[in-house]
Amino acid sequence: MFDSLSEIFSVLKQNKLRAIMTGFSVAWGIFMLLILLGSGKGLENGMRFNFRGSATNSIWVNSGETTQSHEGYKEGRRIQFTNEDYTAIKNEISGISNLSGRVYLYDSAPLTYKDNFGVYQITCVMPAFFGIEKMDIIKGRFINDIDIKESRKVIVLSQPIVDTLFDGDEPLGAYIKVGGIPYKVVGVFRDVMQRDERKSFMPITTGQKVFGQGNRIQNFAITTASESLEENRAIEKEVRHLLARRHRFSQTDQGAIFIWNTLENFRQVLGVFTGIRIFIWIIGIMTIIAGIVGVSNIMIILVKERTKEIGIRKSIGASPWSVIKLVMSESLLITALSGFFGLLAGMGVLHFANMILQSIAAGNPDINSYFHNPSADFQVAVTATFVLVISGLIAGFIPAKKAAAIKPIEALHDE
């Protein structure tokens, strides 16, 4: 092993510049592949970053109007969810990890604290909603079961509302008026996404009673226990069928209820990135092929120049296989070594880019949504190495065959 290595090195030393130039084309290919893959990963991570706001396996159910007549009911009938639907979904459908009904109070109720007031979106939810939309509780707590049971007049505010209304006062335990009725502030949260933050939450039962909603629910938010798209689709279907039965609309009526499955959407976006990744691999491989052709070319010239030497080797007992081994391992060594440098350079650039991005993101978090943590992971490095070895072998194959076919008598007369 060491013997053949030193044999190769003694040859490569003959043509240092040429070996370096050839190696460069391969290094460049691998470098580009890595940069492309890293950038693709960055875009993908940016997209994942956007999905961070809510659980990726959530299903949102909104009501609409029927578009088909069904069981004697005319089309154009408005569907209204109720507490009974909630109980039915909870009891009859398995595989759900969080389920919350929601009631929205829009501009009907301004929030007032002392002299400050403002109109914000108030969402009346159940405790399980905390597991559906991702938020950080900064102070206090979220809505709990006792709030629901006793229809307590409590409210959870987002940090920006607190900043606007409280003028530095301690919000926790303070009373804030919603449409003239005092509510106790039990918690302060911050949206993980830091978007659309002018929100507040109160118990759904409170909202229904105080604001005259009766037992109505406007929509359902569900997260499932499963990460698989098939199971999520199955649950989505079960929910549709259950509601269709309860509200007497056709299972195929797309207007009666609207179901938004984030996992499906998430998967679609991921699918786009899979496409991008394949595209990048194709470009990268093409670039590497250019490098391979370069190496192959040089090796053919090298073999031609070394015709005589190979002839001498053969006349003193080199078998064709040993000649093939000599040429192949030479090309493998050039590709592997230079590819390794390309790999290192690519990794280095990505690392550096990541550092710069992070420092930009510190001042401007928006950038994270577009480009986040560009990196080539271990798997990519392993694959790239594999590609390298294969390409080295391919590059060496034709020249090696040519070398092995050299006839010693002809070679020896080649002056």
Partner: protein, 235 residues
């Protein structure tokens, strides 16, 4: 009676280039015994180089038969041919055919590389052979730093290192002046004395006169095959 190391019977060889064919060897019969020192003479085009290539298993023949040390040599695979060359035959060429980027020692050691002898061992053996040929001090010089005579001595050392049964020398003195030619011939004689068969292809009478048997080729046939009476006492 010694064993025959080389035996050829009605050997034919033609070269084809397109429509034309050139009948180079026309039914040669030849037997060379172990330990002989033979010269093959002839003008260019007589077929002497072709014969040497066939004897060295560098080229194939069309008709007839060739036995090397009793083994029938036919159109064998390259791998097998390489193995036989390595084991049985040592080559000495007119143009030395040393590898330019390897030093004297590495050049001499190369045949052992193809016998998978490890580096340390083969360099050690190479140094012994260089020493025998008086070139130990030049072991680490590149061929370009050596004189013609030195280069040929290195080539001889290389041909000897695998302990072959036959040395095939193709115009070994063709590129050397008469003084060094004599030196090289003396070395080949010494080699012959150790029992190795030496076959020299040459067109110089002065060289062939130093061998014990002279075979003359002319237009692909053996014109004469004589024992060199002048130096019979050597045998």
């Amino acid at each position: 009676m010694k064993n025959s190391i080389i035996k050829i019977e009605s050997l034919h060889k033609s070269y084809f280039s397109g429509e034309n064919s050139l009948h180079v060897l026309k039914g040669l019969n030849l037997e060379i015994k172990e330990g002989e020192m033979v010269s093959i003479m002839g003008s260019s085009g007589s077929g002497k180089s072709t014969l040497l290539n066939i004897l060295g298993i560098l080229d194939s023949y069309d008709k007839g038969s060739y036995y090397l040390d009793g083994m029938f040599i036919d159109d064998m695979s390259e791998t097998k041919a390489a193995k036989y060359r390595n084991r049985y035959i040592g080559f000495v060429f007119q143009s030395f055919n040393l590898i330019s980027f390897k030093n004297a020692m590495e050049n001499v050691a190369l045949p052992l590389y193809y016998q998978n002898v490890n580096r340390k061992k083969r360099n050690e053996i190479a140094l012994q052979y260089l020493d025998k040929l008086g070139l130990k001090d030049w072991a680490h010089h590149l061929p370009s730093e050596l004189s013609g005579g030195q280069k040929q001595r290195i080539a001889i050392a290389r041909s000897l290192i695998s302990q072959p049964r036959v040395i095939l020398a193709d115009e070994p003195t063709g590129a050397l002046d008469s003084k060094t030619s004599n030196e090289v011939m003396e070395i080949l004689k010494e080699v012959n004395k150790t029992g190795i068969t030496v076959i020299i292809v040459t067109h110089e009478e002065e060289i062939s006169s130093k061998t014990n048997r002279i075979i003359r080729l002319r237009d692909g046939v053996i014109e004469s095959d004589k024992v060199n009476s002048k130096i019979l006492s050597y045998v």
